[in-house]
Structure formats: C-alpha cells, structure tokens
Amino acid sequence: MPMIEASDLTKRFGDKVAVDHLSFAVQPGRVTGFLGPNGAGKSTTMRLILGLDRPTGGQATIFGKPYAQLSNPLLTVGALLEAKSVHPGRSARNHLLFLAQTQGLPASRVDAVLELVGLGPVSRKRSGAFSLGMSQRLGVAAAMLGDPQVLLLDEPVNGLDPEGVLWIRNLMKQLAAEGRTILVSSHLMNEMAVTADHLIVIGRGKLLADAPTEEVIARGSGQSVRVRTPDADRLIALIRAEGGTAVPATNGNGSNGTAAAPAGSQAAVLTVTGIPAARIGELAASSSIVLHELTPQLASLEDAFLELTAGSLEYGHLDANPADWSSQ
C-alpha cells in the first residue's frame, strides 16, 4: 500500500500552474527522490501533501487520508520544510516542547530527539543563534518527534557542509531501512543518485519520470569513454573508421571529477561515444597507440535528467534554460 499518494494534484497561483495534474505514489522501505529544477513545483507539492496549501484540483493523501484528517499528525508524518519554521527567540527545546504538547507527547520525548540530533548541549539557547547546520538538525528533530512512519524532507542538504550532508544521507537510508517511507526533494541530481532508490522527476509541475534510480540513469544518454593519449589524431581516425565519435573532452567534464591533463603534457583527452572501452583498447593496441587513460563514464543522473527535461521540451512543456537545473 502506498503511504503517500497524489492523484491528479493541481495547484494554480493566479494563472501560473505550479503543480499540473500530478499523480504518483510513494512506497515504504526506500528513499524516494523528488527531483526537479528550481521552480518545478516540488515544494508546492510537498505543501499540498502536508495540507499547508489547498489544492486547486485533485488530492493528496497519507495512509489514504488527507493530512488534515490525521488525528495526531506528527505521530504519522514528519516534515522538514525548506523554509524556516522556528521563532528565533525561542529555544530549540521550547520549540519541540510545544510541538510535543500538541500531540500529547511527554517532555522526555523532546529531550530524546534533541540527543538524537546532537543538539542536547544547546537545547536551551535561542534558536536564532543557530548555524544553518544546527537549524537543520532542529528541523530533523521536529520531524522525528513523533517517531513517524512517513517523512517528507524538502531540500534537506541545501547549504549544509559535507559532514552535514553525509549525516542527512545516512539518516535517510537508515530510516528507509527501518521500513519507513521517505520522500526527499532535491534539485541536486548527483545527491539523489547516491541517496535515492527510486525517483519521481517533475518539471513545470508535470510528472516526467517515476522509476527506480538506476533505470532513470540508464534511460539517459549513452555511455561514453574517456581516453587520454599523446597520439590523438591517429586514434580519432581509427575510432571514426569504426563508426564512433571522438571529441576533445572539456575540462572538468564528467561528474566523477577526474583531473584534467596536467599542464605541459602532450596527451589530449577525448570523450568517445559509440564504441565500448574494450574495443577502443584493442584499436589502440593494434596500431601501437599509447593510452594514458581509458575510463568508461557512467551517465550521471544529471545527464539523465537533462535528457528527460529536454524530452518534455519536444512536447512544449518546458522552457529549456539549463541554468535552472544545473547542479551547484
């Protein structure tokens, strides 16, 4: 049974359609990534699921009920919203305490979640003095307060340092492994590639993909091979003869961060598509061409995502402006 379900969900702000007849279901026991460029409608969709915004059409349910009909909602659903939701003059403990009281939870539960996220020592300080990382921890504490089965996290790693990113990532995986339902939104494709088991991709409020992460990646552009050789011209000729394409690689291309050729080196770096890495090696060996590097490149989720959104452009749903969805 899907824990979160959107059916024909639509939200208009004036004449702007933020969420456009969106239907999807989120299953328990895995991390579901909710992916889309900035302004795609991710946050609005989450707010609709959480009953903060009123849908123009369709509905969103959790455990089959609209959010407003859950009797102690925080015991079922935890949410970490991107926008801040803590009074800067109130201590972390008092913020969690009032939330706990609405659910009939004891104060001991507040102290338990504060320890859980590592905010115990600063729990009585004004939360306005918190760093971004600490605020995010407080947000996680609020989401975990009722030990909920369903968690919605809106851009949880935005602005966090690497340590914080790792913490959130492990937390989500662990919670999913416990059988909970995790829906996490992001515009960072690479972050989703390492975190999410399943992806729901939207653009302009419309559903573009709803599939396992590997499938979305595999659907993306064909695999390419990175080749470094001091004898580029001969190799390019051989590759073309085989029906492949070889173009000089641009610096920093490739999401795995492979270093570009060192300065002064005569070796050129090529990106080859259409021929598998093994065949390139054979071609080079047969002509005694020296290779310094031969690396198959996995299509990144970002490539897959660009592919997807470019696809939707063909049907006229999306203004292609790569700056909107490039990872930062």
Partner: protein, 284 residues
C-alpha cells in the same frame, strides 16, 4: 559554539509505542501556553503594561493631589470630581492599553514572520481549533494580569487622591468599573490579535491597531456634522469599550457602560471571525 555532531543516527523506534493520547483542545491550549511564555516579547510587553498602567495612574493622581488647590476648580471638577474612578483608570490605561495591543498583534503576526505557522499547522492541521486555543490562552493570560493591574491601579489611585476625594469599591458602579477595566483591556487585546491575524505583518498590524485606538477618535472629531460625529464616535471600539471603566454617565452618552463594552466585544468577535475564516481558506 556548535554542538558536537553525532555521526550516527540511532533509531528511537526501539521505544515501541510513544505514550500519547488523541489530540484534544487541552493539548493545543497547553502548546499555545508554551509558545506564548517562551518568547521574550511576552514578558517584556506585560512588564511594561504593569509598570506603565500603575505608574501613570500613580503619577497623574499624585500630580493632581499635590496641586489640588492650584487647579482651576472647573477643570478639577470636570476631570476628577465628577468621576474620580474614571480619572484613575483613564490615566494609566490611556498608554498602558497600547502594550496589550502590541502583544496581541505580536502573538498573531510572529507566527508568520518567523514561519512557526507552518510548524503549528503541521502539528494542528485543524485551523479553527488552533486559532481558538490561541485566543483562549492569550485572553486568559491578559484577563488575569489586567484584573490585577486594574485593582492595583484603583487602590494606588484612590489612596493618593483620598485626601481630596474618597472612592471605595463599595461605591455605586465602582466595582463594575474596576472589573470592567480588566475586561476592556482583555477584549481590546483580542481585537488587536484579530488585526494581527488578518494583516499577518507586525509593523502593519501595530500601526493599524494604534490608529484604531488613538487616531480614529481624533479623525472623527474633524467631521463637520455633530450628529454624525456623535453616532460614529460612540461605536468606535475604543470609545465604546472605555465606557465600562467610567462610573459617571454623561447625558450626551448614547450607550450605557455595558452596551459600550458589548460594542467592543462585537468588534473583536467580528475581526477574529474574519481572521479565522481567512486562516482556514488561505494557504499558510
């Protein structure tokens, strides 16, 4: 200093069932009480309320008593002797009421400026009960304090003036005026909260409520038509409500003390009602 980051998350679900009961109005009221007591603005505005209201009552009473024979007899009669109780309350409440108005606006608007409204509505998605609990908690807090301040003001003011004019709680209408001063301040605070919940913006809300309390009565005074002025003025929230803490009824007065207070209550209920309706309709 930042907290030592815990690298690993240890599941708390080992606690199998969290002890809890179905969400009720009492839970929501308790939470609203935690909210209101855990921000500094509450303590500050209420501290200023007590100090300003009782302090100004004492100051005005003392200045009047000390210069009793220097005062023009006519103005002394008009200002103090005809209604010493009204004089005592008017002196302190005139400014003291603004602190309650500010707190009323803040209680509503800081939910929006800080974004706490999102956390609140996630915890209590039924919006009418959430606002009702806020109204109840703020109303009770102000009522208790305002009654204490009202009786305090009365005893301080009457003690200072007693050489010249004797007023006691047992005098006709005096107890009603004293209790009424506290009621007036409470309902005015709720009106301010309604303004805040409608405007959702602190500076805007405070400006409007100060305009209603202080500026509007002056503006209506500029109206050329006397009959129109009298009738409009009588039904302004502050003008109507303040009748409850006076003892003397002037014969030009359109409303009785309780009628005036009723008009103030209607204003407050109207604003809170519209605010509640919009809270339920609008996106948070």
């Amino acid at each position: 200093m930042s907290a030592a980051p815990t690298a690993e998350y240890s599941p708390v679900s080992s606690q199998p069932n969290l002890p809890t009961r179905r969400q009720g109005f009492g839970h929501v009221m308790l939470a609203e009480w935690t909210k209101i007591r855990s921000v500094r603005s509450t303590a500050w505005t209420l501290f200023l309320f007590v100090v300003i209201t009782i302090g100004l009552t004492a100051l005005f009473s003392w200045v009047s008593a000390a210069n009793w024979n220097g005062l023009h007899a006519a103005s002394r009669d008009a200002r103090i002797l005809t209604d010493p109780v009204g004089f005592i309350f008017g002196a302190g409440i005139g400014l003291g009421q603004l602190t309650i108005c500010v707190l009323g606006v803040l209680v509503a608007t800081t939910e929006y400026s800080s974004g706490v409204i999102r956390a609140s509505l996630l915890a209590v998605p039924k919006r009418y009960p959430m606002l009702a609990a806020k109204v109840a908690v703020f109303g009770l807090l102000v009522l208790v304090l305002a009654e204490i301040v009202a009786f305090g003001s009365f005893f301080v003011g009457s003690a200072i003036l007693h050489q010249h004019v004797v007023v006691t709680l047992s005098g006709p209408g005096v107890l009603r005026a004293t209790l009424g001063a506290g009621l007036y301040l409470t309902v005015l605070g709720l009106l301010a909260m309604g303004v805040g919940a409608l405007i959702r913006h602190t500076a805007g809300g405070i400006s409007i409520i100060i305009g209603v309390v202080l500026i509007l009565p002056i503006l209506t005074g500029l109206l050329p038509d006397q009959w129109f002025y009298n009738h409009l003025n009588a039904y302004l929230p502050q003008q109507a409500g303040s009748l409850i803490y006076a003892v003397h009824q002037s014969n030009t007065q359109l409303l009785s003390a309780w009628e005036g207070f009723g008009v103030l209550c209607i204003w407050a209920a109207l604003l809170l009602g519209v605010a509640a309706y919009l809270l339920d309709r609008r996106d948070a």
